[in-house]
């Protein structure tokens, strides 16, 4: 039973679950549409009047958009990693959250592609990266991998749509959803392969900038250490983002949607991966400080210009790294609802900060003796077009939660 007022609406809602009335749902969508339309206006401005409508310039060709792009791709890592744990490692309990991880992943990768569509300035020439591919560029590999991985996520999302109460009544769609589920381990394995390379290559982009000692890293064969750090950090942070969005959804729905043991498995794995990442990150930082000093770029020169002082280094590794790691690893704090949310928030903030540092701060640090420091802060068009994807994500999650069976434990946890 559900309390939806319109018959066509209640016919679409999964059986045995309760949803709010249609009019309240439409009001909620209407509220989300207001900031979303501001974002649409920002897109139109940037496309119609070109990128001089933003605060991007020759000093900062990479700004909020690229940092957000790398951030959401890392946060969307929860989809590939949860899929890997569920279908390859076969942790059966994760079947109760993998659907939602896919929904979050689709939104994150759609955001990444959407932000790139405005960042490249001329989206009508976006296809050039595929047709006139520079096969020596890590960014080309990233473009290939995120496009293909977005297709993988759409294929993973498709059976959820086909399992809608009404669509599933049609024999063909019912069968298609069933057979897609059967092929899911192979699809998930393809997603893991693609994610591994594009997460890594995003780290490789700053790591190979040998003209910028702040970003450059030595490494293994053609891969700088940042390649491996980006993969590990995405694996550590993605599950935390899935937990965080699950908790936010539960807050709005005012009910439990996933059992505590499922969340606990993801949080524990995330904690151990974060610990591994932090050990390697600290080793990398120590090695980088030593190497940079030898090539005439002492540590102080990287943090001499505000707002990028030493606090950046301390906050990224200490507050957004070590603290959430301890909170996730200690059983008592991990099982405390509020502290778990704090740990996930700090972990996700840390990944965003890391991506900002590796892109925007890398460009901010002067390289030549005659270079001057210029500050950068995004303008309204950059903020609105980036945040637009948050509102769109909320709309997609609201629609998916209302009409698709994305939480298999909901009925058991909330008997009607």
């Amino acid at each position: 039973m559900n309390t939806a007022s319109a018959p066509f609406d209640s016919a679409l809602i999964p059986e045995g679950v309760k949803r709010c009335k249609l009019k309240w749902f439409l009001v909620w969508l209407g509220i989300l549409n207001v900031p979303f339309m501001v974002g649409v206006a920002a897109y139109i401005v940037c496309w119609a009047l070109a990128l001089n409508q933003t605060y991007l310039n020759n000093n900062y060709p990479f700004g909020l958009w690229i940092a957000a792009d790398l951030g959401v791709i890392a946060l969307g890592g929860g989809a590939f990693f949860t899929g890997f744990l569920r279908y390859i490692i076969k942790i059966d309990e994760l079947k109760n959250i993998v659907n939602f991880a896919v929904v979050v992943g689709v939104i994150c990768y759609a955001s990444a592609l959407g932000i790139l569509a405005v960042d490249i300035g001329q989206p009508l020439r976006g296809w050039h990266i595929f047709w006139h591919a520079n096969v020596h560029s890590m960014l080309t590999e990233v473009a290939f991998c995120i496009s293909c991985y977005f297709m993988v996520l759409c294929i993973e999302y498709l059976p959820l749509v086909l399992e809608n109460r009404q669509i599933n009544k049609l024999g063909f769609f019912h069968g298609m959803a069933h057979h897609l589920h059967g092929a899911m381990p192979a699809i998930a394995a393809t997603g893991v392969f693609l994610s591994f390379f594009h997460q890594g290559s995003l780290g490789g982009v700053p790591g190979v900038l040998y003209g910028r000692p702040f970003a450059f890293r030595e490494g293994f064969l053609v891969w700088p250490w940042t390649f491996f750090l980006f993969i590990l950090s995405a694996m550590a942070c993605g599950p935390c983002f899935t937990i965080l969005i699950t908790r936010i959804t539960e807050g709005f729905a005012r009910k439990k949607l996933v059992k505590r043991n499922v969340i606990d498995i993801l949080a524990r794995i995330s904690g151990w991966l974060l610990a591994g990442y932090l050990v390697l990150k600290i080793l990398d930082t120590v090695g980088w400080i030593s190497w940079a000093g030898k090539v005439g770029a002492p540590l102080g020169s990287f943090y001499a210009n505000q707002p990028y002082g030493y606090w950046v280094l301390i906050t990224e590794i200490g507050i957004f790294g070590i603290i959430p790691c301890i909170l996730l690893l200690v059983k008592a704090t991990r099982q405390n609802e509020s502290l778990l949310v704090v740990a996930c928030l700090l972990n996700c903030a840390g990944i965003f900060m890391n991506r900002w540092i590796m892109t925007v701060q890398s460009l901010a640090v002067p390289v030549m003796s005659f270079d001057k420091f210029f500050s950068y802060h995004p303008n309204w068009a950059e903020w609105a077009s980036t945040l637009m994807w948050v509102w769109l994500g909320a709309i997609v999650i609201s629609l998916s939660y209302r009409y698709l069976p994305i939480f298999p434990q909901e009925r058991e946890l909330n008997p009607v």
């Binding site: 595929f130 047709w131 006139h132 591919a133 096969v135 020596h136 080309t140 590999e141 290939f144 293909c148 297709m151 993988v152 294929i155 024999g171 063909f172 769609f173 019912h174 069968g175 298609m176 069933h178 057979h179 897609l180 059967g182 092929a183 192979a186 699809i187 393809t190 392969f193 693609l194």
Partner: protein, 53 residues
Amino acid sequence: MFPFCFDWVNDPVHFVFMGSLYSVLILLGIFVNYAVIRAFLDLICKKEGQSHH
């Protein structure tokens, strides 16, 4: 980029790079078509009272 494009170069990097892209795309095509064909076959070969679950 296909091998018949003017900026194609017959070197290992092009074959590995573009080959990987097309392999993944073909693989995804196979997964989706597998599900479509199996669902279609199920539909036309379905016997009375038989179900997937």
